[in-house]
C-alpha cells in the first residue's frame, strides 16, 4: 500500500515543527509538503537542524496532499482551510478556528467574525477519548487546545457520572513553549526563568472551549467554570489541577470513595490508549515528548472535594500528537500508529 501524502501549513511554529518530527516516524504517511511564512524557500534544516533527515523545502503554497494539518494562528488558519475543505481535502486544524460551535463566540473571544459558520457544525472536536467515531468519519477536525485537552480529560468521567456540583475550579500550570515561537517580553528567557505568574484573569480564550465541552458532558445543569492558567519556568508540559464539590451521596466516604472514583475513571478510559489513569499524583515529566495524558482523581482530606489532576506534553497530546491521533482515525490507521515512543525521562 502506498503511503498517504500529508502536508503542514505553517511548519515553523512549535506545533508545526513538532508535527514534522512525529510524522517522520509514521509508517503509513509521508510528509510531502510544508509551508511557512517568513522562511519560504529555505530548506527545513536551515531553520531546524534537528529535522535534517526530512529533506524538505519550505514552500509558500501547500502541494497536493491527502490530508493537511494547519498550524496557522487563529483567523489565518480558517482562510487556508476553507478552500481545502471545499476541495475535498481532509484537514486537522490545530488553531481554534473550528473548535467553538457557536459562531457568535468568535468576535468575543478571538476578535474576528467567523468566515464559515456552516463549517462549525460540520467540524468535529478532535478529542478522540470523547469523539472517536465522529472523528473517524470527519473531513474537518478541530484539534483541541492544550489546556482544554488536560482539563476535559481530568474532569470528563466525574461530570459524565454526575458526581460533582456545577462549580468547577481549573488551575493549570503550563511550560512556556505553549506561548509559541513568536517573540514577546513575557517569554524572554531572563523574564520567564525563575518566575511563576497567573494570566488570563480577564478570561482566557480556552475558557469557552472548556466550558462548551464540559457542558456537553453534564447531564443536568449548566456548569460554572473558573479557569486560571499559570506560566511556569519549563519548556514543555501542562499540569491541570481541577477542583469541584462532590455531589451529596454520590461517593462513599473515606478510602472506599477514592477507590470508587478510581474505578470510575479506569472504566471511562478503558481502551483509550492515550489516557492513562495513574496510581499517584502525576508528573508532567512522565509524559515529556509523548502523546500520553496521565490522569489522577482523588478526594481531598476533608472528604468533600474532587481533585482531578492531569499531566501532558502541551506540544504532543496538547497539539501535534493529538493531531496525528486524529489523522490516524480519519485515515483508518491504528489510533496509536507513529505515536508509540515513550516519554523521555529524566
Amino acid at each position: 500500500m502506498s503511503k498517504s501524502r500529508v502536508g503542514i501549513i505553517n511548519v515553523t511554529g512549535y506545533a508545526g515543527v513538532e508535527l514534522a518530527r512525529l510524522l517522520y516516524r509514521h509508517p503509513q504517511v509521508e510528509l510531502t509538503s510544508v509551508t511557512g511564512r517568513s522562511t519560504t524557500g529555505q530548506k527545513l534544516d536551515t531553520v531546524f537542524p534537528h529535522l535534517a533527515s526530512l529533506d524538505l523545502t519550505i514552500e509558500s503554497e501547500l502541494g497536493e496532499v491527502d490530508l493537511a494539518f494547519s498550524a496557522m494562528p487563529q483567523k489565518e488558519s480558517s482562510k487556508e482551510i476553507i478552500p481545502l475543505v471545499k476541495g475535498g481535502i481532509k484537514v486537522v486544524d490545530i488553531s481554534a478556528d473550528f473548535r467553538l460551535k457557536d459562531a457568535t463566540q468568535y468576535p468575543t473571544w478571538y476578535g474576528f467574525t467567523h468566515p464559515a459558520p456552516e463549517l462549525l457544525k460540520q467540524a468535529v472536536f478532535g478529542l478522540p477519548e470523547l469523539y472517536r467515531s465522529q472523528i473517524a468519519a470527519a473531513q474537518l477536525v478541530a484539534n483541541p487546545g492544550c489546556y482544554p485537552t488536560g482539563a476535559i480529560l481530568a474532569l470528563a468521567p466525574a461530570i459524565k457520572a454526575g458526581l460533582i456540583e456545577p462549580d468547577i475550579i481549573i488551575d493549570s500550570k503550563s511550560g512556556i513553549s505553549g506561548a509559541g515561537r513568536t517573540l514577546s517580553l513575557h517569554v524572554h528567557y531572563a523574564e520567564a526563568n525563575e518566575d511563576v505568574t497567573a494570566y488570563g484573569l480577564e478570561g482566557h480564550r480556552h475558557l469557552p472551549e472548556i466550558t462548551q465541552e464540559l457542558n456537553l458532558l453534564a447531564p443536568q445543569q449548566p456548569l460554572k467554570v473558573v479557569f486560571i492558567p499559570h506560566l511556569i519556568p519549563m519548556t514543555r508540559g501542562i499540569l491541570t489541577t481541577a477542583y469541584a464539590t462532590l455531589a451529596s451521596g454520590k461517593v462513599a466516604a473515606g478510602k472506599k470513595g477514592k477507590e470508587e472514583l478510581m474505578e470510575l475513571y479506569l472504566d471511562f478510559y478503558r481502551d483509550k490508549p492515550f489516557a492513562r489513569v495513574v496510581a499517584a499524583s502525576p508528573h508532567t515529566k512522565h509524559t515529556w515528548g509523548n502523546n500520553m495524558c496521565h490522569i489522577y482523581p482523588t478526594i481531598d482530606p476533608g472528604g468533600e472535594k474532587l481533585i482531578a489532576i492531569s499531566a501532558l506534553d502541551n506540544l504532543v497530546k496538547g497539539a501535534a500528537g493529538q493531531a496525528i491521533q486524529n489523522m490516524n482515525l480519519m485515515l483508518s490507521f491504528p489510533e496509536t500508529m507513529g505515536l508509540e515512543a515513550l516519554a523521555i525521562y529524566p
Copy 2:
C-alpha cells in the same frame, strides 16, 4: 547603643543560611553565634563561601545571645527552644513546633507528642500583618510556614470582611528550595527540572496552620479549606492562587466590584510595609530575594468567584526575612530594618 547579639540554631539549612545573609546587613544586631549539626567546628565560609564576610565558626552549642532564631526541623526545634525560653531568652522559631494552638494536632500532623503544650498558648503566630502588637510583646514567636504566609495574606482581607462563602480552594506553586537542603530524589536536579507535580494530596502539614489562622479571621462560620501545593522547577518563590465564591450581595457587579475589592485590600494592608497590594497579576520574580509579599485580588470573568493571588520569596517573607521582621518588633527596632533591599530582577 550597642548592638543586640543574636544567634542561629542550625545555620546550615536554607532558612538558617538566609538568616545569616540578611542579618549581616542589619545595623542594630550582631550575629555572634551559629550552630550546626554535621558541620560543627568548621568555618562558616568553608560550607558557604558567599558568607565569608561573616567570619564565624559553626558551634555545637549556642553562645550567649539576646535573641535566638531556631532553624532546626520540627520536633528537634522545640527541644532546643524550651530551655532558652525558660531561661528568659527571646526566640523566633522557624519550625512548626509552636504554630498550632491545639497540642493534639502535633501527633496527627507531625508525628510527635508536643513536649510543652503550655508554651503553645504563650507563643505568638509570627505574621506581623495580623499580630504586630502581640509579636512586639512576645518572648516566643512561631514564624509561619512559607505556604501559610502566602495563603493567609491572600485571603485575610476577604475573610475578615465576610466577603466569601466558607469553601476555599488554595492552589500553591512553590520553588524547590522550599523542600530544604536535605537530599531526596524528588528534588534531585534531573528529577525536578522540567517537571511539575502536585503533592500533599493526603493532607499537607501546612493545612492545619492555614485553617487555624483563616478561621480566626472568619466572623461567622467554620471554613472548609482545600490546600494543594505544587513543586515547580525554580529555586525560590511561591505563587498562591486562592479561589472562593463571593457571598451574595457583598460585592458590586462588574468593574465596580473589582474596584471595591481592591480598595478593601489596600485598606487592610495600609501601613503594612511588606504586604503590597499590586495592580496586576503578581510575579514571584518581583519579590526575589526580598521580604515583600505582592497581593492581587480580583473577580473571575463569571463574576461569582474571588481570585486572590499572592507572590513571595519562600526563604525571605516565607522564612528568614519574616523572622527578622518579627525580631525587629520584639526588639523594638523599626519593622523594616535590615530588610530594605529591593528584589533582584531579572
Copy 3:
C-alpha cells in the same frame, strides 16, 4: 525471524532507564530481563511510570539473554560481566571497566585493581565512528564515556590528519543527568540550578580515556591533553569546545582554510550515520533525546587555532543510544535500527 532477547543489568540508573526506553521501540530485539539493586521485585512502572508499556519486573538476577547491557557503576560492573563473557554472552558495558587498555590505570583513576586484565585486550572501545568493524566482531564492547564520545568525535579528523600541534585543551559543559541518579548535594536542585562550575580539576576520570583514544589517532607524537568538565543547569546535553594550535602550513589561510577543514571533517564522517558535521555552531538542543552528535570545526579569528565543537545528548549518544548502536553492529542489524527518532525541539 524471532527477536533477539536482551537484558539490562541495573536498569534503575539514568543510563539503564534510557536503554529501556529506546529498546522498547527496537524492532528486532525484545527486552526480556532487567535487574536492579534496591528495587528488586517491583514492577518497572512503579519506579518509572513512563515505562508502563514495558510490563517488566525488576529482578535480582539477569534471565537468559542473547546480549546483556551492564549499566552498573564501575568496579561492580566487571563483577557482573566477567561470568557472562566466559559463558559466551555478548555484552555491552556502559561502565568504565573495560575502556582503558592499560590495567595499571584502574588503581590510579578508579581505585580498584582490575579483576580481568586479559579481557581489556579483548574488549573493543565502542565508538562505532572509529571501530565499526571491530565492534561487529566483538563479544565484549566497552561503551565510551559521555565526555570522551564528544571530545573524540570533535577532534578525531584533525588529529588523524596531523593538522594540529600536540597541546590540546578540551572544555566541556554538561547537563546534570550526567552525574547520575545517586543523591548528592552538588546535584540537589537548589544547588545546581542557576549555577555553573568547573570540576575534576585534579584530573577527571575521563581524561585517561580521552588521551588513550586520541593518541591512537595521532600519527607522530604523544598528545598533551587538558580536559576540564563543567556542570551547567540543564538536564541533558554535553557541549565540548576543543582548542589546539594548527600545525604550520597544514591549512590555508582565511576562509579557504575553514573550507578545507570542513571538507576534511565531512570526508571523515561520511557514512557515519550518527556523526553529523554541521554548518554552524551546534546546539545541544538539536540532539535532545536522539543519538546524533553534531560536530563543527572552525578556525579562530586569529587564524592559528582549531576550534572543534561537538554537541550530543549525554544519555543517548553519550550512553544508552551508543550502546544500542554497538548492539546493532554486534547482532548484525542495521546500525541505525531503533535509533531513528529525531531530536525533540524545543
Copy 4:
C-alpha cells in the same frame, strides 16, 4: 553632608534597572533622574514593580546630576555622553563606547566611526582592581564588559608576573541576561532553556577589549588570545575558564607550584575588596546578586598549564555593581559603599 545626585540614562535595560536597584541602598547618593526610550513618561514601577520604592518617573532627558551612568547601547551611548563630559559632568559609561583606546577599532568591531577619539585617551578603563587611582581622578570612566571583567581578573596576576606563554584560551559560560532585554529568538525561553551553544566564533566584540587590557599587563611579548563565549540556561552569572602554558621554570612542580600560584594571586588581590581568591573551584551561585568576583588559579594534572577560573554576576560586577564601585572612587566614597550585600544563595 548632602547626598550626591546621580542619574541613569536608559534605565530600562537590565544594566539600568540593576543600577537603580543597587543605588536605592547607597547611603551617599540619591537617584534623582532616569531616562528611557519607549517608556518615557511612565512611572518606574509600572514597568518594574520591584522598584516601586524608588518613586521615579522615566524621563526623556536627564535632569541635573553630579554623576551620570549611561546604560545606552553602543554608538547611542557616546552621543549622550559627549555633551555631558564637555559640560563637566562625571560619567560612567556602561557601553563599549570608550573602552578601546584605538579609535580605528570601532569601525571594525562595532560598525561606527568614533565621534570623539580625543575622549578615548581621557577615558579610564573602569576596572578598579587595575586602575583604582586613575579612576578616582577621572571624569569619564568606561565600565568594562562583563566577559572582559572575568577574563582579565582571572589572568592578570599570572600575566603581570610573566608566568605564562603568550597563547591564551579563554572559554566563558554566560547566563542569558547578558544578552540584554531586547527580544531575540536565541534568548526566547523555549529556545534557550535546556541548551548550550558557543557563539561569536567569527570574533566576539569583547575580544579586542580583553586583548588590549591583557597586553597592557604583559611584560615581554604580544599575547595571542582566543576568546569563545557560550550561552547557558540560567539568568545570571559568568564563569570563565582560562588556559595557558606555564612558562618554563617559573613555577615549581607539583603541589608546591599550586601553592606559589595561589600566593601570587592572593598578593595581587590583597586590598581589592571585590576580587576574592578562593580555595576551590568557584561557583557563579556564590556571587549571585553581589559585586564579588571569585578567582581560582590552579595547574592542570599534567603540570604544564595554568587554569585560571573566575565567577561573577554579569549584571553586578559585570555591569551595574562595578559602575557603582567606579562611582564610589570618582566621588571619593569608600569603594565598597552600597555594595556590601552578600550573594543570594541558593
